[in-house]
């Protein structure tokens, strides 16, 4: 069956609770039965509005990250002079002091980096704007930058603030912000890109991975584009354009000759049809389906859908929020082949499980470690190409980590430790809100209520049977299941292969 390439909206009456669940899973990271019921109650227009234009949702209750901008500050002129003098004089004591200072700054930066990872993971769980975090994940994977190379957690934080500021508006603005982003400039060595010795790294990745896609340019285009980006440096925490090392001459990029600089280079890239298709592919891979990352490898129906999304992106002048509003209402998005057919990223799995199960607060440091072991260390994508996503998330090893992470959220039992005890502090009863007393005493009704939200309606009766049997075995007929029984039923439900899908 082919996936619909239509971006026309579904009729409001098709927006069932199952569709509301799908919307919440894909635009955000899923939710409890009550969250889904509430979103469904809003109707299609309002529900999409809330997720595509999340800015209207108040987040003033969230605590911002307590960032220290000065940990990795550059040496002052005096310090530098003192250092050079010590080196000239072979003053080993002073040199050792400098070395110690540098090492301790690195250590402090690594601690801030871990704190930043924890802050983000907790925010994904706590935020009333799950769609914003999902969007930040998209850009983090697209403009993938690694703390391990940047070695400045403050700049990683600043980059994420840029994703938050521009991530739901114009992609053009976001792309222009990225050629000036200090973390990106360090990561792709552009602060070494000077007129006399151009460094191609940023120019190459900007074309290959951030805009045009592989194969849409020549090696000569890269050489010329690198010249356009000369002098795009940073000074401490800010962008700095160094005119003296910028190459102001004419460059020929993609057949156009002009005295390109960073901004006009980005503008040129956005004029290319290839860019709209490539960004559409990224949106499609993030929100719709796990398809290959190369356009020429897409099955025909997916290629048509991506093309339609690319057209929509152009129509909206690269406005991401507008484009996603159209997508989130569309026949394409609610196609039968789309629903329940995408593999959750580790961040989605962890934040989504905590949000939808309403588990007690767990050690966020363990949650961050778990994400890493599942292949998604926050602020540490494996390369500038970001995470592969889709099936690459799942192997025999990550399968167990995914299941065991859910057990940790539910029971407090840390699967990486041999002897950690379960805590028994989780009460799933609030998830049953909305069920009558009679339904609560009916194992089938209880499992259906939970499974409809956690697994989705596509997971059928035969797959729900083991949980129903478990409740029946542990509960007297006509009585509601006790807390411990519900905990075990949820442990099984989250261990199901279907729970890895959204």
């Amino acid at each position: 069956m082919a996936i619909s390439a239509s971006l026309s909206p579904i009729p409001n009456r098709f927006f069932t609770p199952a569709m509301a669940r799908h919307l919440l899973e894909r635009a955000g990271t899923g939710g409890s039965p009550a969250d889904i019921a509430e979103l469904h109650g809003l109707g299609l227009q309002e529900a999409v509005q809330r997720l595509a234009h999340y800015e209207s949702v108040d987040v003033s209750n969230l605590t911002d990250f307590d960032a220290d901008p000065d940990i990795m500050r550059p040496a002052t002129a005096e310090e530098r002079a003192e250092f050079l003098k010590a080196r000239r004089n072979r003053d080993q004591d002073t040199l050792d002091t400098f070395r110690q200072q540098r090492l301790s700054a690195r250590g402090e930066d690594r601690r801030m980096h871990s704190r930043l990872q924890r802050w983000w993971a907790q925010r994904m769980i706590d935020t009333p704007r799950p769609a914003e975090e999902k969007r930040v994940l998209l850009w983090h994977c697209h403009f993938a930058t690694r703390h391990r190379d940047v070695r400045d957690a403050y700049l990683m934080y600043r980059q994420q603030q840029t994703f938050r500021a521009f991530g739901n508006a114009s992609f053009a603005d976001l792309a222009k912000a990225m050629v000036r982003d200090p973390a990106m400039i360090i990561f792709l060595n552009n602060d070494r890109n000077i007129r006399r010795r151009p460094n191609e790294n940023l120019a190459r990745e900007f074309m290959e991975l951030f805009t045009l896609g592989e194969g849409q340019y020549t090696e000569d285009d890269i050489k010329e584009a690198a010249r356009a980006l000369t002098g795009y440096h940073r000074a401490d925490n800010d962008f700095k354009f160094r005119r003296l090392v910028h190459d102001g001459g004419d460059k020929t990029i993609l057949g156009q000759t002009d005295d390109f600089d960073g901004d006009s280079f980005v503008k040129l890239l956005l004029k290319q049809k290839a860019t709209s298709r490539y960004i559409a592919l990224k949106l499609y891979r993030h929100y719709v389906a796990d398809v290959p990352e190369y356009l020429d490898l897409l099955p025909r129906d997916h290629a048509k859908a991506v093309n339609a999304l690319g057209e929509e992106l152009l129509r909206n002048r690269y406005h991401i929020g507008q484009t996603l509003e159209t997508l989130f209402k569309s026949r394409m998005f609610y196609d039968r082949e789309v629903i329940g057919n995408k593999i959750k990223s580790p961040a989605h799995l962890v934040a989504g499980a905590a949000r939808s199960l309403k588990t007690p607060n767990r050690s966020v440091s363990i949650l961050v470690t778990a994400m890493s072991r599942m292949g998604q260390a926050l602020f540490e994508p494996p390369s500038v190409a970001g995470w592969d996503g889709g099936r690459a998330w799942i192997n025999t090893s990550t399968m167990f980590m995914r299941q065991n992470l859910a057990i940790y959220l539910i029971t407090g039992h840390d699967p990486t430790r041999r002897s950690a005890k379960a805590r028994n502090d989780y009460d799933p009863t609030p998830l049953l809100t909305g069920l009558t007393d009679r339904q609560r005493s009916d194992p089938t009704a209880v499992v259906d209520h939970l499974a409809d939200a956690l697994l989705g309606p596509t997971v059928g009766r035969d797959r729900r049977a083991p949980m129903i049997e478990l409740i029946q075995q542990r509960t007297e007929t006509g009585q509601p299941a006790d807390r411990e029984t519900l905990v075990k039923a949820l442990t099984l439900m989250t261990a199901m292969p279907e729970y890895q899908l959204c």
Binding site: N189, R192, R197, N199, N201, R204, E208, E214, E219, D290, P292, L297, G340, N341, K342, I343, R373, M374, G375, P382, S383, A385, D388, G390, R391, A392, W393, I394, N395, T396, S397, T398, M399, F400, M401, Q403, N404, I407, Y408, T411, H413, P415, T416, R418, A422, R463, P466, M467, E469, L470, Q473, K488, T491, L492, A495, M496, P497, E498, Q500, L501
Partner: protein, 442 residues
């Protein structure tokens, strides 16, 4: 049977009776056999193997059916010029004023003039002297791609432009597809990757590597919660045969879950097995230690895949690169020693590659940029030891990079056909000249 000269061992494998006896595959998860109808194929035979205590890994110990290939991926683009150092060439010194390795520091190679190894590769030099290591120079492919991802894809795929169903498949996966039927009892563990993410190199149509990096978490923790949980979990994880053949995401995840459960107990024990040799406490050291444990435990696994990163040395390359080479050389040395001391050395060959070499001329940041051709290491008793091929020219360059004379697909062909005795033509999509790194008659 291998009967070639073996410099470090006084014993041939036949002298160790029972060393190759197939042990139980299942360990403690025997209960699983009740679901045999839907269990992965490799569990099926194990069931009967348990009754047949005479069953061995091979009727001829160390026979070609049980040869093992270990692949070490050096990610980031290893600087081949500071790995196998052409110190006798003035162009090297001129191009590398700050990064060059001096002749006096390089590890000399017997019978080779003007070329030596990086000082931290001394253990590799010892392995060459012992007849256990070979280095292929100037390995690459036409029109080299200088993007990490594209070039790594090319090396992992074993083809430059894969077409049709070969897309997204790797050279090892394709070779194993051709050698092992999906219904073969050992298909489920034909390849093991010590990696958090599955590696494309080991992805075949029916063969997919078991992947894990931390043995302790390689099981479902819910088994500990209550006795009754395990059977419900097994019910939810098992899969009807009809579904196993489907390829949608849900079936894929379900198949992976079932394979994971089946492989869990056996692989965990094997990878944590005690070793005779002390392995370095480095990333690669730990990975090769696990591989040694699994080989010693006589898993029917044919391919092990490990990796080591950090080779993308654009700036301040000096110490960083030599430290990486030390980690590499020490880990491999320990691995070869362990294979020899456990009597498995004759059935294991190890290959180490990187997605590209680096540019001849060092850059302004005391680093090197992405290049093209580079060296490939091959270890094991079956290799023709020493350097293979000429050092690539330092004057005849392509965009400042070394030009390859040995196609990596020929290296793969050598390893697959002459060592693994598998057909390589599908894996590398064609026929390529082999460099002869595997000795004739092995």
């Amino acid at each position: 049977m291998c009967d070639h000269y073996h410099p470090l061992s006084t014993e041939t494998p036949e002298a160790v009776p029972g060393a190759y006896t197939r042990r139980r595959f299942l360990g403690s998860s025997l209960a699983l056999l009740s679901t045999a109808a839907t269990a992965p194929a490799f569990l099926g035979r194990t069931g009967s193997a348990l009754a047949d205590t005479t069953m061995r890994l091979s009727s001829t110990p160390g026979g070609v059916d049980h040869r093992v290939l270990v692949v070490i991926q050096l990610s980031g683009g290893n600087d081949g010029l500071n790995t196998v150092v052409p110190f006798g060439d003035d162009h090297y010194h001129r191009a590398r004023p700050r990064l060059k390795v001096a002749e006096t520091d390089a590890v000399p190679l017997q019978g080779v003039d003007g070329i030596g190894l990086n000082p931290n590769l001394a253990p590799v030099g010892e392995l060459i002297d012992a007849g256990q290591a070979a280095i292929l120079q100037g390995v690459g492919y036409p029109n080299p791609n200088r993007s990490h991802f594209k070039s790594m894809d090319i090396w992992q795929q074993g083809t430059i432009d894969p077409v049709g169903a070969d897309r997204g498949k790797g050279w090892l996966g394709k070779a194993l597809d051709g050698a092992i039927k999906p219904t073969d009892p050992d298909a489920g563990v034909a390849a093991v990757a010590l990696a958090g993410q599955s590696q494309m190199a080991t992805m075949g149509r029916s063969i997919q590597a078991v992947s894990f990096d931390t043995p302790r978490t390689f099981r479902w923790a819910g088994h500990d919660l209550e006795d009754g949980m395990s059977s419900a979990y097994n019910d939810l994880t098992e899969m009807p045969d009809a579904l196993r053949r489907r390829d949608d995401p849900a079936s894929f995840v379900r198949r992976t879950a079932m394979d994971a459960q089946a492989a869990s107990s056996r692989l965990r024990k094997a990878s944590e097995a005690k070793t005779n040799t002390r392995f370095p406490a480095t990333g690669l050291g730990r990975q090769l230690r696990s591989v040694a444990g699994m080989i010693k435990s006589e898993l029917p696994t044919r391919v092990y895949y490990v990796s080591m990163g950090g080779f993308d040395t654009h700036a301040g390359q000096g110490n960083r690169h030599t430290n990486l080479l030390r980690e590499f050389a020490q880990a491999v040395k320990a691995f070869q020693a362990e294979m020899t001391s456990t009597g498995h050395a004759d059935r294991v060959v190890t290959v180490a590659f990187s997605e590209f070499g680096r540019r001849l001329r060092e850059n302004a940041s005391a680093g090197t940029d992405h290049g093209a051709a580079g060296p490939v290491f091959v270890f094991g008793n079956a290799v023709k030891p020493g350097l293979h091929g000429k050092h690539p020219s330092l004057t005849n360059l392509d965009q400042g990079d070394l030009i390859h004379h040995t196609d990596f697909r020929g290296v793969y062909t050598d390893l697959l056909e002459n060592w693994m005795r598998m057909d390589a033509s599908a894996a590398v999509a064609g026929r390529f000249k082999t460099p002869g790194v595997i000795r004739r008659g092995v």
